[in-house]
């Protein structure tokens, strides 16, 4: 049905398309048209006839705009820029002017569209940047692609242990045997030490021992000092820039002395530059390898089975790594002695280290390639959702403009012009979104950047190289979004278009529906994944670890002197009311165990490899572990130090001693001398993060060399108890600062990567939902408008408001339902895949999927229902009137 008001508005839009006209002039001409139409109608013409006649009498808008343009300049023969040959560069400001006008017309839709796309772009760019960052570890220093780390697989009876470490003789052997191995260097993790200079005194725990060849293999820049000689002298030390500034704020560090462990003097021979290339090693304090060497007997260093070191080699440019690995097999057989058939030596490119978790004894936290892939997919999904949104809303907007197109065609506009214009508009919007997204990224980083990646300095300028790519991508998105409406709608027959405003909404519904389904499927997948990660984390944190982790303060004993004081500390604190018990262990129950060789009764000729954990008496007791056979160590049995072992259930199973382990002989002569027997079997407890299964473990009592003191505090006396401990500590050890952490806190923080994941997952889910709802909102508004007449008719025939609301929301709910059905299998497979990372995991039950579905349904319902209610309440008289 012909709507005069609307027809005039669309004609007015035509005028607005031309940059030649000013607002006032457009208003003037509109009034002119009205006056003309009034006259015609007064003479008996119908509204439609009057409109058509008036419009054609007015004349071609295009020529008119040319003439008006000419009035603005003083040149004699001014051609408007849009008539000139080279139109693109000149056209630009005009195009922009028109594009802005068009935006303002549809403020709501345009706003939603651009914002939605901007958010999606910002998210995916941030993720893209992060992925790039993670992949750029160990790429920024010379020869990085020729450096390899040797890793060792230890083959046991029914298991193989994969270590990130290797043994001391390997590096030198490789260099000597193979000419293509140009250089080697070894690293050893140092313990926490106390570092002093003058009044400054701190515990530093990021200490590494490195061969003097370190800077030959890793050609890292030194701000001060000579890399060739810095680590040669046993009492030298190389510092990171921050550490150097910490102890030597005003002066050059090189040449100065630091005191380590209370009495060892080291001279600073080098300082690293401030901005180090990104690498898997976290370098703060580097001590020479030959300082470390003094700690153990010489012969130990020939043991190929002592896998507690890191070996790196640099291989010559064209060497074949595969060949080298083969040759290494022989080398191991020749040199490794008795461990030869139990170890396998691999070469790992240094650029793989950061993203490949899974080896034991990693020197630093790794990222995880799988996570990166997942993040990448998430980024693509979010981008997809927002691009689909953009396309949907663009096609909605152009459907509303069908009438305008019709009118323009009456006046002779060419199809090519219309297409170009539409594409231009959507590309413009797309670029505008890009601009906004960059602003969003800047804002987000300045607010939250340090939260996610502390210590990170993001220089956006580093990524300028990607700008052309991003621009092209954005333009493509704009073109895609505009293409469908531009092509399809510009085919409308002119007259039909003017008449058939009603029908236009139906076109493209199918595609729109598919886009909505795609969006919501992705969103639901996000929600499900996030819920699963969340649940798994919760499970990890609350799982029974086999010991009681509450109110246990762990105090590191960081030097020999401190360790020797342990027993006197324990004695003095024995009667403190606030303290339930004190014990000690070599390690802190959060990983870090190597295996050692055992011989066992009943396993003649076999070398059993198992973890060995030196502890103090009462360890199992004070930490609340359950003994399933026998007893724990106790001071009542002082001889435990010489003739007892405790093993865990896993060890008992491995040895075939379930139920009858007590009394069995077990020996680890190299590490726990004496003839020993099993005196107890402890229930399996988790001494490593829950990614790994509990491996066989054996414990023995040692009175010295305990690196961690465990103090269990009484419930009412946690802070008092601690104070007492500190007091007594300071009484005995004035030179050593008192430091502690709580076991449960430390254990909870083991799952940092998973935490980050949960955090990100929640953010992405929210972002995805928000974007998808933007789209849904736009569609719902559009539909409400299109079906205005239909609703009016229904109301007249007696439909209630709720019936109408139901009718309008029904379709959308159906779409969400379909999305759910599509999303569930994909989500199921993916989350189970992720959960495989954990030896201990939750079962993914129906509940999570249902929850996600209900959530999606509710949120989309809420989005849509507002529009539905508003449309349903409109007075039918109003909507049916304009015929």
């Amino acid at each position: 049905m012909f709507n005069l008001e609307q027809a005039i508005q669309t004609w007015k839009q035509l005028l607005k398309q031309s940059p030649a006209f000013e607002e006032g002039q457009i208003k003037e001409m509109e009034t002119h048209l009205w006056d003309e139409i009034d006259d015609f109608m007064a003479n008996g013409l119908s509204a439609e006839e009057a409109f058509n006649k008036a419009v054609s009498k007015f004349g071609a808008v295009e020529e008119l705009s040319d003439e008006v343009y000419k009035t603005k300049t003083t040149k004699i023969d001014a051609t408007p820029p849009w008539r000139q040959q080279s139109w693109v560069p000149n056209m630009l400001p005009n195009y922009i002017k028109v594009a802005f006008r068009n935006l303002k017309k549809d403020k709501l839709y345009s706003g939603i569209n651009i914002l939605g796309l901007a958010v999606g772009m910002a998210c995916s760019m941030l993720i893209g940047w992060y992925i790039h960052y993670e992949y750029s570890y160990d790429t920024d220093y010379p020869q990085a692609d020729n450096i390899y780390r040797t890793t060792v697989d230890v083959l046991g009876e029914n298991r193989t242990d994969h270590f990130a470490t290797s043994s001391p003789p390997m590096g030198p052997a490789l260099k000597e045997a193979f000419p293509e191995v140009e250089q080697f260097t070894r690293l050893r993790d140092g313990n926490t030490m106390m570092v002093e200079h003058g009044e400054q005194r701190f515990y530093e725990s990021n200490i590494l021992y490195a061969d003097s060849t370190f800077f030959d293999v890793f050609q890292l820049p030194l701000g001060e000092g000579d890399p060739a000689t810095a680590l040669r002298n046993p009492n030298s030390v190389v510092l990171s820039y921050d550490i150097a500034r910490k102890y030597f704020p005003q002066e050059t560090a090189v040449g100065k002395t630091l005191t380590l462990n209370g009495n060892e003097l080291y001279t600073v021979t080098g300082v690293l530059v401030r901005k180090m290339p990104l690498m898997h090693l976290d370098l703060e304090i580097i001590l020479p390898y030959n300082t470390f060497v003094r700690s153990y007997p010489e012969g130990e260093y020939q043991d190929w089975g002592w896998v507690s070191f890191y070996n790196y080699i640099r291989i010559s440019e064209n060497a074949s790594v595969a060949d080298l690995e083969n040759k290494i097999l022989d080398l191991v057989d020749q040199r490794a002695g008795e461990v030869a058939d139990r170890i396998r030596l691999n070469l790992q490119p240094v650029q793989n280290i950061h993203l490949t978790p899974g080896r034991m004894g990693e020197i630093a936290d790794t990222g995880n390639r799988t996570y990166i892939y997942i993040l990448g997919i998430a980024a693509l999904l979010i981008l997809g959702i927002s691009v689909f949104n953009f396309m949907n809303l663009a096609s909605v907007r152009s459907a509303r403009r069908g009438l305008e197109i019709g009118v323009r065609k009456v006046l002779g506009a060419h199809r090519r012009q219309l297409v170009t214009q539409y594409l231009g508009e959507t590309v413009f919007q797309s670029l505008l979104s890009l601009l906004i997204s960059i602003l969003l990224i800047e804002g987000f980083l300045s607010l939250f950047g340090t939260l996610l990646l502390p210590g990170l300095e993001l220089e956006l300028t580093d990524y300028v190289q990607y700008l052309p790519f991003i621009l092209i991508l954005t333009t493509v998105v704009g073109i895609l979004a505009g293409l469908y409406p531009a092509l399809v709608l510009s085919r409308f027959e002119a007259v039909k278009a003017v008449k058939d405003q009603f029908k236009q909404g139906k076109r493209g519904t199918r595609i729109r529906n598919m886009l909505v389904i795609a969006q919501f499927s992705a969103t639901i997948i996000f929600i499900i994944s996030t819920l699963v990660v969340f649940n798994q984390l919760d499970y990890l944190r609350s799982k029974d670890l086999g010991f009681d982790k509450e109110r246990v303060a762990v105090i590191p004993l960081n030097s020999e002197e401190v360790r020797q004081n342990f027993e006197s500390l324990k004695r003095e604190l024995a009667d403190e009311p606030g303290i339930a018990g004190i014990t000690a262990g070599r390690l802190a129950l959060d990983g870090g165990y190597g295996t050692v060789s055992f011989t066992a009764e009943g396993h003649v000729g076999e070398t059993i490899r198992m973890r060995l954990y030196p502890v103090y008496y009462d360890f199992t007791d004070i930490l609340g572990m359950e003994m399933v056979e026998g007893r724990g160590f106790s001071e009542e049995f002082p001889a435990d130090t010489d003739n007892a072992f405790i093993i865990n259930e896993a060890a008992a199973r491995m040895l075939g001693w379930e139920g009858e382990a007590v009394g069995k002989g077990l020996q680890a002569a190299d590490y726990a001398p004496g003839q020993r027997q099993v005196v107890g079997v402890v229930k399996d407890f988790h001494y490593t993060p829950l990614h790994e299964e509990v491996a066989p473990l054996s414990m023995f009592v040692r009175r010295g060399g305990m690196h961690f003191m465990y103090v269990r505090l009484m419930p009412e006396a946690v802070s008092n108890g601690l104070q007492r401990v500190e007091h007594v500590w300071n009484g005995h050890l004035t030179d050593y600062p008192f430091d502690y952490w709580f076991l449960d806190d430390r254990l909870d923080n083991q799952y940092e990567t998973e935490e980050q994941f949960s955090y990100l997952g929640r953010i992405f889910s929210v972002v995805a939902i928000v974007i998808a709802c933007f789209g849904l909102f736009g569609l719902a508004s559009f539909m409400a408008e299109q079906r205005r007449k239909e609703i009016g008719v229904r109301k007249v025939h007696g439909a209630t408001i709720s019936e109408i609301v139901f009718m309008m929301t029904k379709n959308f709910m159906k779409l969400v339902g379909i999305s759910f059905v599509l999303a569930v299998p994909i989500a199921y497979v993916s989350v189970n895949q992720w959960l495989e990372n954990f030896a201990y995991r939750i079962d993914v039950g129906m509940g999570i999927f249902l929850l996600a579905g209900v959530l999606a349904l509710t949120i989309s319902l809420l989005t849509v229902i507002g529009q539905a209610i508003r449309a349903a309440r409109v007075n039918p008289v109003k909507s049916l009137r304009s015929e």
Binding site: M29, D35, K57, E63, V68, K72
Partner: protein, 113 residues
């Protein structure tokens, strides 16, 4: 019906100036006047009028004001400025001069100033 484009173009400006000299007027009204005054011989396309008006406004020959009508329409009213009046006189002179050439050549009745 006058069909020559050049004549229509040339006569437009003096015609408009004359109409505006009589009274203040707006776009649609001016067109009606033109049709009436010419006895139907001149039928301008509406769009033709405005570029001329705008140029005149730019050259300060006319001044404008907006007025809102009862039915909510904004109308822009044009009126002559003193400069415009002078311009009208100048146009008149030139037009009459040309006219007089033809009077002589073709033996017509002389125009009255």
């Amino acid at each position: 019906m006058i069909t020559s484009k050049q004549l229509i173009a040339a006569s437009a400006k003096p015609l408009i100036l004359t109409i505006l000299a009589r009274k203040e007027s707006y776009g649609y009204d001016i067109i009606q006047e033109v049709t009436e005054l010419s006895g139907g011989k001149l039928e301008w396309s509406d769009g033709m009028l405005y570029p001329i008006l705008y140029k005149m406004e730019k050259d300060s020959l006319v001044q404008t004001r907006w007025e809102m009508s009862d039915n909510g329409r904004h109308r822009k009213y044009y009126s002559l400025t003193p400069k415009g009046k002078k311009e009208l006189e100048a146009e008149k002179e030139e037009w009459v001069s040309v006219h007089n050439i033809f009077v002589d050549l073709w033996g017509l009745q002389p125009a009255t100033t």
